[in-house]
Subunit: 468 residues, 2 copies
């Protein structure tokens, strides 16, 4: 049955009733063990140590950079040092994108240097840059509404600003300007596109992030201005004089590069070939040190699996921690993992990814078959003392789980408070000081509870969800 | 009598007593007029308009830059457009300091690019930069304590961090590392000095600011790292391996340059040659747009004087608004003003400067002779509805007033809440969005009350304080 989850209205009705789940449940022993691991995790500094190590000894690790290779070596060495049963590097090929000098200068009516960053995947500007007048569009829809070819070589500036929200819901409506601005702009006759940074702070720091090209139109360069610079450009454009701007973005793709998904397994005793999959992405953008995006997720899930391995006798199934490669540039590592494991998809019983900054977890959601909701409720009860409530049975699972989820894997989300996340996301400001060492263990405890109980569950969560 | 203020214990005792001041007082008419101007100022958007204009049409305006000249022209044109009775440019000569490329890279044990800015007045690094190991010092005192010549060409890193406080009291103890670090470092044998930025935020933005050289030791380059980069460097230095760093600062002095103090007067009817002096500094550092430091002060005091001129029949004395040149590089404009006016110092009856960001004013302090304290109390009473309390009679008057105060002029302070000021101070983040248009009029109202009542006062505040 397709869309089985639809009629459950978030499965919240289950919450108000005695448990009626027909499926298998977790044993009292497993629940007691999970509670003990949870409390132990709250006292552990392991995750912060791992994050300190990654941000200090590797730093920024954009896919294809010299530091990318060091990050892969770091992940492998850490898995081995932490005593994982099996460690593996899985190759991932991609066309490398590199960044050189970047500048944006208003030439007239009043000269200003603007803080700019190229969007990931953008083509570069020609030698000498692009000098053109700027035309303001309130948002992508306004640019869409302009007649084709009407910009006559102007630089289109898309000024919409992301709204702050705990669950990051402001990102989606704003980020379409980043993703599609260049192709829409090209169709309208723009020579380049600038957007207001997709972020929530007033820091004079530009937010990078992936864009994509529509192959039907020419490729034009695309960059993001810091929010204060976007304000300034709006003020300049509110005056009668035309605003002339020189944009230089020395960026582009150079050659094919091979990086690696880094995989660490903790073996299960009964079904070692079946996996609870937790993880993060190991790559970052080149600007910050990737402390929040996504070093925090790597450190959290590596620490959670380590604490399980060190403090429990055995698990029914295996726990796999995947440090996905090149998430930032289009989930390329995750797609490579899924392609390589296509024949073993039914060995992936449920997955969760940590990739939403450093905030505390406030909500647990699942996407499992109905017969597993009883076990999900049991997991939720062990998470509850961490301040985590159950959300619904419509979880997405995190970006790198999209290919696995689309292939039928059950997923869960441990949703973090993202109120401040987009102040730092994809900027130079993504550094270790934005992580609170005191609150990080709550995340580790939640992942440890989830992974341990999911691995102890003898039923299944529906690894063939799409076929039900 | 010298040190007469000492025995007053902040003059706060006056507050608890009926007025016993023997000096002259302000008339009820003047007080009522001041209250009316105050309430009018609270409704005025003029100051924000001026600040929007300065930051948009001029932007950063480091002394000696192309924009410095535009700022001077802006100030003159605005004074004229606002209807000031007399506008004057007063030449100020200085050796220009310029900034080119800047970079700091950790080469080993783990490569990192650090966010760095040269300190104002620093010499540059030689061609190819300086490559040396880094040695950590907790603060300037720790560097002082090292044996002379013991650093053997290392780069000294001074790691002390500024504390946050409403009155900015954390600045003084921290900023000595910026001011004196290079000369102390040179004596200890360092090839260069890096400091942790003198600022309170965790933004990955470096804070510039003036340093000075002791002529008895060689000049070595000095820069500031952003706070997150200072954290990173400390973490690197906590590991056993030596930390090698390459520092390039293409900065230095080039030639003599002439800029201008911009002076605008509103004439008084009875004693037009005697002045209440309010103002700000017009120059900024080159990194932000100088919205807080000190565009806000210029806009506030220009608007206050304009509102007085437009809404009162006459003033006993004149009101002079001075936009001081080149404050950031050593009060050079203020010293030039004082030198030019040395014979007219007794025509400067009292002064105040706005130069502490964009926060609301919470306190009014004075430094006047005792017979004027009755009038000061009357001014304080008109300020009270703005949420401003009286502080003491030990005011400093603001940086550009130091030469005038030292020459005997009475001064006042309208102290702003500086809790957030040092998040932005001397950085790229000093931009218009950090100013709240809603709270700015409170500052204008306070300066209007002060300047109007001080100009209406027929007594004197003690323009020969040092000679009493």
């Amino acid at each position: 049955m397709h869309n089985w989850g639809k009629g459950l209205a978030g499965a919240l009705w289950l919450w108000c009733l005695p448990i009626v789940a027909s499926g298998q449940l977790l044993s009292d022993d497993a629940l007691a063990e999970a509670a003990a691991i949870r409390d132990m995790a709250l006292e552990s500094g392991l995750a912060y140590e791992l994050l300190e190590s990654l941000t200090t000894e590797v730093g920024p690790r954009m896919a294809g950079s010299e530091a990318d290779a060091r990050a892969v070596a770091w992940g492998k060495a850490k898995f081995e040092a932490l005593g994982f049963d099996h460690v593996e590097l899985q190759p991932v090929k991609f066309p490398r994108w590199v960044r050189g000098e970047e500048s944006a200068r208003v030439l007239s009516p009043y000269p200003h240097r603007l803080v700019v960053t190229a969007l990931g995947g953008s083509v570069g500007t020609p030698a000498g840059g692009i000098t053109a007048n700027v035309k303001l569009f309130e948002n992508l829809a306004a640019l869409e509404a302009a007649p084709d070819d009407s910009l006559d070589g102007a630089i289109a500036f898309i000024a919409n600003r992301m709204e702050r929200a705990r669950n990051g819901s402001g990102y989606g409506p704003a980020v379409i300007a980043r993703r599609d601005g260049a192709s829409v702009g090209a169709r309208k006759g723009a020579s380049a596109v600038l957007i207001r940074s997709i972020g929530t702070s007033n820091d004079r720091i530009a937010h990078t992030g992936l864009m994509r090209y529509n192959f039907a139109v020419p490729k034009i360069p695309a960059g993001a201005l810091s929010n204060p610079d976007a304000d300034l450009l709006e003020r300049l454009l509110s005056r009668p004089e035309p605003v002339s701007l020189q944009l230089t973005l020395e960026v582009g793709r150079d050659r094919e590069y091979t990086t690696y998904n880094v995989i660490g397994d903790i073996h299960g005793s009964e079904k070692p070939d079946e996996f609870v999959v937790i993880g993060c992405h190991l790559d970052s953008w080149d600007v910050g040190t990737g402390a929040l995006d996504d070093g925090f997720g790597c450190a959290t899930t590596m620490a959670a699996a380590t604490l399980i391995a060190r403090n429990t006798e055995s698990r029914h199934r295996s726990i796999r921690v995947i440090l996905y490669a090149i998430e930032e540039q289009g989930l390329i590592g995750a797609r490579a993992y899924q392609a390589a494991q296509a024949d073993q998809m039914n060995q992936h019983i449920i997955g969760a990814e940590s990739d939403f900054g450093a905030g505390p977890i406030y909500q647990f959601s699942s996407k499992v078959k109905p017969s597993a909701l009883g076990a999900i409720e049991q997991i939720a009860q062990v998470l509850e003392p961490l301040g985590i409530t159950f959300g619904n049975n419509e979880a997405g699972g995190g970006p790198d789980l999209i290919p696995l989820r689309d292939a039928g894997m059950a997923v869960a989300n441990l949703n973090q408070d993202g109120t401040k996340y987009f102040d730092y996301h994809h900027t130079v400001n993504d550094t270790l000081d934005k992580v609170d060492p005191e609150s990080m263990p709550q995340n580790v405890a939640a992942y440890a509870v989830f992974a341990y109980l999911a691995a102890q569950y003898t039923g299944d969560f529906g690894f063939d969800l799409n076929e039900e």
